[in-house]
Amino acid sequence: MPFHILVAACLAYVIVLFLVAFLAERRARRGRLGFLQSPLIYTLSLSIYCTAWTFYGAVGYAARSGLEFLTIYFGPTLVFIGWWWLLRKLVRIGRQYRVTSIADLISARFGKSNLLGVIVTVMVVIATTPYIALQLQSVVLSFGVFASETPDGVLPPDAEQTAVWVAVGLALFTILFGTRNLDANEQHHGIVTAIAVEAVVKLVALLAVGAFVVWGVAGGIGETIAKIDAANLSAWQMEPGRWTGLIFLSAAAVICLPRMFQVMVVENANEGHLARASWAFPLYLMLMSLFIVPIAVIGLERLPVGSNPDMFVLTLPLAEGQGGLAMLAFLGGFSSATSMVIVEAIALATMVSNHLVMPLWLRFSRAGARGDDLRGVVLMARRVGIVGVLGLGYAYYHFSGGSAALAAIGLIAFLGVAQVLPVLIGGIFWRGATRVGAVAGLLTGFVIWGYTSFLPSFGPGAVLSTSVFSEGAFGLAWLRPHALFGTVGLDPMIHALFWSMALNATAFFLGSVLTFPGPVERLQGAAFVNVFEGQIGPRRWAHGQAEPEELLVMSQRILGEDAALALFQAAAKAQGKAGFLPDTTPEFLGALEARLSGSVGAATAHAMLSQLVGRATVTVEELMAVASESAQIMEYSAQLESKQEELTRTAGALREANDKLMQLSIQKDAFLSQISHELRTPMTSIRAFSEILTEGGLDPETVVKYGGIIHDEAKRLTRLLDDLLDLSVLENGTVQLNLTLTNLHEMIDKALIAARQTRPERSFEIDRDPVAENVYLLTDADRLTQVFINLIANARKYCCSDHPQLRIAVRLRGGRVIVDFVDNGLGIPKDAQALIFEKFARLTDGNRAGGAGLGLAICREIMANLGGTISYLPGQGGAAFRVTVPIRLEKQAA
């Protein structure tokens, strides 16, 4: 193919891209985002994961190492189908805190530390420079393929010149669309749309070549499969270490690569797009790798031995005489390379300007935040960054000679950026991660990567001398770059992966565990880790003394006049003020900082606002003071609360005591009125009859009768007084117990005889168990007998059965004797059972009983004195009382 047609096609393609980017940009500026923010564009823009390394290199990889090339796509597939774990949180954090790059994320997470931003930026720039060189190299190689094909009239430029031209062209394009303006969200619609177009081009190109190879050359699917089986691809064996290691590595890289972070997190317009991309992006990867194996197999079969397998995608159609298809394939490869370089350059330039240039400029420019047009400075920093990044890539290409196989460089770059992974994951899932730990982990990983993977990639004798390879640095054998700590026999890639990640994660962990994070770090850590719990971002600003006007001037310099005025007007309106100058409330300052950090990064935005708000910034110490003050207040209120609780408890106890006293007083009153009533009734009849007797003139019979009544009543009085006296003695516990060893049987006998005087006219059937009663008790026999008498007499009095029976049952239970007195009467109604042991409690009228109602009360007191109990036993068919008494009453201090 004539070389100048090739160049013309390239130029035409680039012009189309320019047009697409320009139109998209214009559309976005008019606010008609529409499809520009669709999930389709988002997914397609993610395809910059597939660089020229995929487009050309995968075939070469498959030709050299069989199916191992698939690992590079399996990792991202796993990460995306598992988006709910990690990517969702990453995107949410990126959107909520307006993260501009992976360096910005890490710097913001660890207390807006610019040191971390610098470390990550430098690491990532060093790691991705070879990768950019790789893209230049692939474009140069593909040019070379066509040039060698047909030398005609126009002399193709040499490889060096091509590389220069490609680099310059890419830099121009990137600067034009990547740094046109400083967007608040740092989103580049023009570029993203162009990238999406390029994604389609490379997919179509690779599928076209694949389809041609399968159906055009091999002759169908069946034949292709047969050829794959027959192919003598190099003796590839599935090495477990490399297989799993590379899947892990590619999974790490898809998260940490700056260009992937740029399109995945920074350019993300809607979190919902991630859900779509979770399957659409793996689908894209699958389609991209679908025909890699057939192309490799057929290429090895058809093309002469010794041809570069990295270029099979181009050389196979050319060898088959398909010039047009080769052209398409060339454009596909060109797209892969350019899209990657453009986005990578933007991402790196953003980091360089936000973390290297701006802090330096802020420090050394005398005017600081009040200086001249900051927008210009930021944009210029980015442009210089883009040129610098591409320049570095070119330099690497120039000095490395572009000889190494594509895949090797790609993996080294992957491993370099993967060093960010532990800090990134730890930072967003573990609140305990600290800045010191992050620095330690990053530096450790970076140094080991450099020593075991990056520097050796230049070959023995280039950077590291041959002796270092064979004998280790400083002659220490355990420091050999490919056998660190004596681990011989590992694949160099897996060796580097294992040691760098393991020591990186260890240093990060130990550093975090052993140090104490600063307050800002802790606030940021909590905000990032708990990003789904709503915005708990720290308030960093107090009411500032900064004039809103100064803030407006500064914001204009970063955001642009219109955007800044709109922001301030909206804020003023929200505060209920007209005009453009809101009060500098903490809320407003926080919102302003978030907005500014979208343009210049969190650390820089914080530093700039601090310059203006000046000493009014809440310092960390103030913050801590406020915190401890409020902690004191909380403690004080907790104390008050506990005191109040105590008071409530005391009041409750007092109320209870008062209630008891009241009850006692009522009881006492009731007792007194009962007593007077009981005393009054006999007294009345005594007085009446004695008056009648004193008047005289009565016949002797009547005198005898009246005298008998008076005598009876006096006896009753005496008995009542005796009972009262007895009760009071018992209640006071001053009773003298006369302990003797007595047989229970005798006591019951005595009681039955004594009780017979009560209603002697009734004949009772007594049911006893003489054997069981034969128990000797050490107790006050008289008192116990008194209780028995009382119970038996009660039964005689109240049992209303026609054939009254009384059953006396005796049992021994654990050192106590239980005596039950059960009659066959009606028993005692349930509601009265609680009352019968109270003083003067009589259930029926006194006319049947004649007692004062003190009997059971006395019984209860006696039993208490004897160390036993008396209780009513319900459900026995009649009135039933149970007396429980210890067999041996231990002599107390009675």
């Binding site: 189908i81 794959i228 399957w279 699958m286 789904f532």
Partner: protein, 87 residues
């Protein structure tokens, strides 16, 4: 920091959403296991391993993972809109 009190039991729809999330979390784990599985296949004395059956296995598995992820995605997204976060 005090967390919002969450209900202990859920209605049917949120319950299903949570289980869908569990499934979505496990999907990459299963995927990884199945991708590593061929390592255990004994290659009987074969010097080279690139055979068409391997290729077909990997691409079939890949398609399966994509389809399952595609089936999960709408449910997961609607759950997010409903706003009941679990973590």
């Amino acid at each position: 920091m005090r967390r919002l009190k969450r209900p202990m039991f859920l209605a049917r729809a949120p319950y299903r959403r949570r289980r869908l999330r569990d499934a979505a979390r496990l999907l990459p784990v299963f995927g990884a296991a199945l991708l590593i599985l061929p390592l255990l296949w004994a290659d009987e004395g074969a010097e080279r391993r690139l055979s068409s059956s391997d290729v077909i296995y990997f691409f079939a598995l890949w398609c399966l993972l994509i389809v399952v992820a595609a089936l999960f995605a709408p449910g997961l997204r609607s759950g997010e809109a409903a706003g009941d976060e679990t973590d």
